[in-house]
């Protein structure tokens, strides 16, 4: 069996900078824009690009990701000529190890690639939000005839130090590649989207595997090694929307971009529908006295309060006298009466008791400060229960249940008029 090109999606990273969001879930399976998971964008791209064979490399907390992907039918990958294959680390005849890095993950699945004997391999990430036709990238690669093509995007100069920065000549040939440079010499960033000519990729993966000093990473090792050996690498300029949602801030921004009708992301595009797994759900119910503006709401959610400039996922219950502003509410969240939620991300399965105020500007809750959140957002981690009348300030992460009136937690402001907390908690 031989096909021209297969796609390998890297979906095993922990996503530490997403803090509590990835407590029991991998980055690619985090809810996005109400009804999607982050990996839907990459899988949708593959489907629209007519890539028939997809390998998904998983490692960290893969259960939710696995069940989301299932047999691949939501993306059209359940026919007999194509398929999505989840590839966890596995033991072999003489070794047993985790994926040591992105390059090693592909190396360990070389047999999978060889089954299809593809001329080209596309390497993708499961945690990027973008709409891209990979077939154009592959055509470009074929036309240039290089060892590899790296998709690039122009980034603001101020952000360039966070990316692999590329310099290319007038023929798009890459002349310099530096991973996360202190002083960037261009603003052309690698998107972490690569096409490799399979034979050359295999050679470099084997060399890299034998190099004990290597971190086994595409950006840090494979690409620099190819540059060093004067392989011809090309830059393919992509000018659509693209965001690596590796931090709480970029995750929040990408969601808000999806919500913005003028954003280039445009998830409503009829010609590039975003595919995802959907269940049998009843429509959303907007009750009398509810008010919903500039927001996304999805099926099987009930709204009895006010929702403004926010994203609400399925199976959410928003009770009366609740105000939700500039926030992202994930699946299966309950927000009880009288709560105010501002600039917050409330993760899957969280339950917020009555009259809580999450994301309050006027209190500081340093005991909830988190090294990964510093931009005025507040995060409630998955399945956390917060009892009545709790106030949480900005830049905070609530990772554990709050089941008592938090007298013993210094700094949490308490609504002194309330006496009900002990009954509920």
């Amino acid at each position: 069996m031989s096909i021209e090109c297969i796609a390998m999606i890297l979906a095993g990273g922990q996503g530490k900078r997403l803090s509590g969001l990835t407590k029991d879930n991998s980055k690619p399976a985090i809810p996005f824009a109400g009804k999607y998971k982050i990996i839907d964008f990459t899988l949708t791209n593959c489907a629209h690009s007519n890539l028939n064979i997809i390998g998904i490399l998983t490692q960290y907390q893969p259960l939710k990701l696995n069940s989301h992907i299932g047999n691949g039918s939501p993306w059209g990958y359940n026919s007999n000529s194509d398929g999505i294959f989840v590839l966890p680390p596995h033991s072999s005849h003489d070794s047993c190890e985790w994926y040591k890095g992105t390059a090693n993950a592909i190396y360990q699945n070389m047999n999978f690639i060889d089954q299809y004997n593809p001329k080209y391999v596309v390497i993708l990430s499961g945690d990027h939000v973008y709409k891209m036709d990979y077939s154009k990238l592959i055509d470009f690669h074929k036309q240039k005839g290089g060892a590899a093509t790296i998709a690039t995007i122009s980034v603001p100069t101020a952000d360039a130090h966070r990316f692999g920065i590329i310099e290319a000549n007038n023929f798009n040939e890459i002349t310099n590649f530096v991973e996360k440079p202190n002083i960037p010499r261009s603003n052309l960033a690698s998107m972490g989207v690569y096409v490799f000519t399979t034979e050359i990729l295999k050679r470099y993966l084997m060399l890299d595997e034998n190099n004990t000093h290597s971190k086994h990473d595409f950006g840090k090792n494979i690409i620099p090694a190819m540059m060093q050996n004067n392989e011809r690498l090309y830059a393919y300029n992509f000018d659509g929307y693209w965001k690596d949602v590796g931090t709480i801030n970029s995750y929040y921004e990408a969601n808000m971009d999806a919500l913005n009708p003028d954003s280039q992301l445009n998830i409503d595009d009829e010609n590039w529908k975003i595919y995802t797994r959907t269940e049998a759900r009843i429509p959303q119910i907007i009750y009398k006295n509810a008010k919903v503006n500039n927001s996304f709401v999805t099926e099987n959610t009930t709204v009895r309060g006010i929702v403004e400039n926010s994203i609400v996922s399925p199976y959410v219950s928003i009770e009366p006298d609740v105000v939700i502003k500039n926030s992202i509410i994930h699946n299966n969240v309950i927000i009880e009466k009288g709560c105010i939620i501002e600039d917050s991300i409330i993760s899957e399965g969280a339950h917020i008791g009555k009259n809580c105020h999450i994301g309050n500007t006027f209190v500081e809750t340093p005991e909830f400060y988190d090294e990964y959140i510093d931009n005025g957002l507040t995060l409630v981690s998955p399945n956390v229960f917060i009892c009545d009348d709790v106030v949480i300030g900005k830049n905070s992460v609530v990772s554990n249940d709050i089941t008592n009136m938090p007298n013993d937690i210094g700094g949490v402001a308490i609504d002194k008029t309330s006496t009900r907390s002990s009954n509920v908690c």
Binding site: S73, I274, I282, P283, Q284, I286, V292, E299
Partner: protein, 349 residues
């Protein structure tokens, strides 16, 4: 798993729902924001463990083919499960109930299940068919009739055996042994009978033990525009909604984005599907997938089906808008709650 095959049959294809069933069967009526009427019946069967279901169609079955396909969305496209659409074999003219049902035999004879459950296609009810089988066996019946209270239209003797049926009686389903089903139909065909109820059941009361299983929970039978309108509106009542959606109701999934509520949205007491854009005032209404509602719009008590577009400054009250309708800027359409106005599919007003 139930030892029964499901057959959904359009006993009431002659009901007139104005423009609503001009291009579709009653079973294909869009309902409840994202469903078609038939979804409730198929889901109910699937939820009871009926794994092989057929839909007998007569006319206008194109929308059913699109909507149901091989039954994937109902979990029926897998080994040991099946979903079949049985189109009419005759090429023209009126086709009798008996000959349509006989077509179903081509499917039912392939299985070995003991029973066949023949369900009507225009009622919404939640019922565990295992109870009907238990009843059937306890009564040692030939046929068990699942029907709600019929105010005297189903006449039984002291033993509960059905001895007569008035022509407009309302029933949900018939349980019959598969072999007897085949035998009755073969016999009816030989005699040139046409109507299954009148010619096969009613004429055989003496030879058949037919028992009425009284259904007493919530149901709705859609047999008029008003009933259709009222059932949809009743879903805004939480108590009724919980009854209707007591068990999963499956339907064709679509790749819609979430519904976008814009700056000018003022939505209250509504059931809204995904993929909509709303920038106006919408009250007490059922909005299907992909509906676009412009700014300064005022909608009250309406049912708006899939992909309909309401441009700016429109006022609508007590209106049923079929799929892909366009209501142009500034239009005002007002119906009566007792007599909602229907705007036909793809109309431009």
């Amino acid at each position: 798993m139930l030892d029964a095959l499901g057959v959904i049959f359009p006993f009431n294809d002659t009901i007139n729902l104005s423009e609503l069933n001009e291009q579709r069967t009653i079973a294909g009526l869009p309902i409840g924001g994202r469903y078609r009427l038939i979804d409730f019946i198929i889901s109910n069967m699937v939820n009871c463990g009926i794994n092989n279901i057929s839909l007998v169609t007569n006319k206008k079955y194109q929308s059913m083919l699109n909507h149901l396909g091989a039954g994937d969305d109902f979990g029926l496209n897998r080994k040991g499960h099946s979903f079949n659409i049985i189109p009419p074999y005759a090429s023209s003219g009126e086709i009798s109930d008996v000959s349509l049902l006989s077509n179903a035999i081509r499917v039912t004879e392939k299985f070995t299940n003991k029973y066949v459950i023949i369900s009507n296609s225009n009622s919404i009810y939640n019922f565990n068919f295992a109870d009907l089988i238990e009843f059937y066996e306890a009564k040692n019946a030939d046929i068990a009739l699942l029907a709600p209270d019929n105010s005297g239209n189903i006449i039984t003797n002291t033993k509960g055996k059905v001895v007569d049926l008035n022509s407009d009686f309302n029933f949900f389903a018939i349980l019959i042994e598969r072999n007897l089903f085949h035998e009755l139909l073969a016999h009816a065909k030989t005699l040139g009978a046409t109507d299954f109820i009148a010619d096969v059941l009613v004429k055989n009361f003496e030879h058949l033990d037919i028992y009425h299983y009284l259904y007493e929970k919530f149901y709705s039978t859609i047999d008029s525009v008003k009933k259709y309108f009222d059932f949809n509106m009743s879903l805004l009542d939480e108590k009724i909604r919980l009854k209707v959606f007591e068990n999963n109701v499956y339907t064709k999934s679509k790749d819609c984005p979430p519904t976008r509520y814009a700056e000018g949205a003022d939505v209250q007491n509504c059931l809204i599907a995904d993929g909509c854009f709303i920038d106006g005032k919408v009250k007490n209404s059922i909005i299907f997938r992909g509906v676009k509602i412009g700014s300064k719009v005022d909608i009250n008590n309406c049912i708006i089906m899939q992909d309909t577009i309401i441009q700016d400054n429109v006022k609508l009250e007590n209106i049923i808008l079929d799929k892909q309708v366009v209501i142009r800027k500034g239009q005002k359409l007002v119906g009566q709650a007792s007599y909602p106005v229907v705007v036909a599919k793809k109309a431009v007003v």
